[in-house]
Symmetry: C2
Subunit: 418 residues, 2 copies
């Protein structure tokens, strides 16, 4: 076994031991740790910014673009935001120990299903330092030990933040290995961790598609995956025109670079002549490039022709595929064929159309008369999210505290035998 | 693409198309199918037994032992049992469409979490023909299409049963590809299915450890795994002696060849001198071979010495590892070290000991004053089970209808934008 393999195994074994202690820690202890971590961060803005400065100095070496450098920077406002987030997680209900089901049996056995932590989370992420603290907060609050593997671009920032997290663990009586930071940024190390399913219960990669694919292929434990968001809005014939205009523009333009932004607009043929020119004008005013089907292009002749490939593309910028469809069934068929099962919306005032749409669209989130942009742990009331899942197994959509838990059956009897 | 690969892809694509229709089928349709399948089986006992006879004739060629041949045989009583099971599944609550959570948001959005089918289940099993029908019933009732891959030993029996299942699907208006039987018993075919994660949402292997390992290694989609049951009973110092004797004997002897039978007995040192000789006598009277630690062996000198390896062994027969431990903490440490996280029990009248044990034992099922043998979907009130999971991700312990489902977020608004 080489040094990296040995290091990974030791780290993972330490995490498992810590997870056992953490799984029975009281809610009060975990809350105390969250508050203490926030206090330590507030008391160390200067130290943290000095360490962050070391990362910023090296950023050009790593070829980071200015947007990426901006995300890496730790400002006073961002540190305050990190501390506020810790205190918000402290206020969330503790998921561990919740009784999520029970069956009193005829023979007197009381069967209960009790929520428990998953155990050990291996969390792989890129360069935003706030994610380091968010992930630690969500994992510890849900009773899980976490192994954090940040990007090399944030090496010094992450070391400094982790130092404070670790101090707070010690001060509040929680195991110091509850939150570990992988001390090497060697990519080979990740491979060693991904084979340690006897210690690690789930891996969560947060980053680009190639990272997620690599992790999904190599990991021997479950992975919570977050792939493309090819999101649709369907304007039904019974839509309100004003509402349709606002939802279309908001879904596409409010933040086009994110997974829950709209990529394809579908319009019912019965209202296309009336609606499409107005919606198209709104979108063009926002600078959206339109790629249209033959029918919609007749109404907006300056648009380019959409291709099959476009319908399968997550643009992540101000480009939109547009298609006029004959009816609701054609809209559903289009979405189930070309979509990525992320977030899809209908705009309608017809109850039967709404019911069909929510029943037939096989996506993590189906919105009626609301922008696709609301698919988010905070907006859904989960409090905070460690990621969004495009899987159907275990967790689907935004992953908050509950999605970091499993359950066990606890059965109380009085001497029953079979 | 060779013929087998093409066949697998076509079968899986058909299943996915069927799953879309099935996911919005009404509960009434699914109930009608369950009843009609039972009727057709009741009307075709002779046909089914004739086809089963063809399998029985070939059984010696496959080297089946007499116990395996017995499991393969379709008797009148077994056919009645299969029909009764179908009618019991018909009576279970339909899981699809259940609202499992909701958050009314301050901006007026109503966020709901709605239970939906997983989609397509690939179910791999061995030679018991009743499993063919059980699995189809549970999958269809939960809105999933299923691809059944039975063992070659039951080829003709499965073909005949599937013929009736398919007729019933057609007669009740459900898609004929909702239940498909893999028509080849070529082992290579399984490998092709295991790569089709774009069509298949979960694979459930039911069989020996080598089958499960192969599937877990090759599958690109999630797998519900069922590994060893190294189950413990801990007799606490505050146990009732009579209860301890009965639970120990029942957990070990009532059916020693199954996963929820006890493999190791742990006894608190404070009561070992009094309890162990009596429990040992009960176990010996049932023919159990005892493998004892040094301390317990002093009280039962005719027992052999237990080894580290024994503590990690699932005997599945009338052999028992025995260890006297200093206290509750030592019992918990032993179980978390040597156990397989399946089913572990404590016998005690001490509330604090019971609370510590249920909190600290990281197993799918933790029993207080009840035999380990109760860990079972039927006994827990799930109605029926398609398997037992030793995973912590998605489903843990017995898997019934709910464990074959996912959820989606359905969000109703009135024009909200972000």
């Amino acid at each position: 076994m080489n040094d990296l393999a040995h290091y990974a195994q030791q780290t993972a074994a330490n995490a498992q031991a810590a997870s056992r202690a953490l799984s029975i820690a009281t809610g009060e202890q975990k809350i105390a740790w969250l508050h203490r971590t926030a206090e330590l961060i507030r008391a160390n803005f200067e130290l943290l910014q000095a360490e962050n400065e070391r990362d910023l100095q090296k950023a050009p070496e790593y070829g980071l673009a200015s947007a990426a450098i901006d995300r890496l920077r730790i400002t006073d406002a961002r540190l305050s935001g990190i501390c506020d987030a810790l205190e918000e997680v402290a206020l969330l209900p503790d998921p561990v120990g919740e009784v999520i089901g029970s069956n009193p049996r005829p023979n007197g056995l009381l069967v209960t299903q009790v929520r428990v932590p998953l155990g050990v989370v291996f969390f792989i992420f890129e360069s935003r330092p706030n994610v380091t603290v968010d992930a630690a907060a969500l994992c510890v609050k849900s009773g899980n030990a976490v192994i954090l593997r940040g990007g090399k671009e944030a090496f010094y920032s992450n070391q400094a933040l982790h130092g404070l997290i670790k101090s707070a663990l010690g001060e509040t009586g929680l195991p110091e290995h509850a939150v570990q930071l992988v001390s090497t940024t060697d990519r080979e190390a990740v491979g060693h961790f991904l084979g340690l399913d006897e210690f690690i219960d789930v891996t969560i990669p947060r980053g680009g598609k190639s990272l997620i694919e690599r992790v999904a292929n190599e990991a021997t434990m479950p992975v919570i995956k977050h792939y493309d968001g090819i999101c649709h809005v369907f304007i039904d014939k019974a839509a309100d025109l004003q509402m349709a205009r606002q939802i279309a523009v908001n879904s596409k333009c409010q933040r086009p670079g994110v997974c829950n932004a709209m990529e394809t607009l579908l319009i019912h043929a019965d209202v296309a002549n009336q609606f499409w020119p107005e919606i198209a004008a709104d979108l063009k005013a926002e600078g959206v490039e339109l790629r249209c089907c033959d029918r919609s292009r007749q109404l907006t002749p300056d648009a380019t022709a959409v291709t099959e490939e476009d319908y399968r593309t997550e643009y992540l910028e101000l480009i939109l595929s547009v298609r006029i469809v004959d009816d609701l069934a054609a809209a559903i068929a289009h979405i189930n064929e070309y979509g990525s099962r992320h977030t899809d919306a209908i705009v309608t005032n017809d109850l039967s159309a709404s019911t069909s749409f929510t029943g037939s669209i096989d996506s993590a989130a189906v919105h009626v008369n609301a922008s696709t942009r609301f698919n988010d742990g905070g907006e859904y009331g989960l409090g905070a999210e460690i990621g969004i899942s495009t899987d159907k197994f275990h967790a689907r959509g935004p992953c908050g505290l509950r999605e970091l838990t499993s359950y066990k059956y606890v059965v109380h009897g009085s001497g029953q035998i079979k």
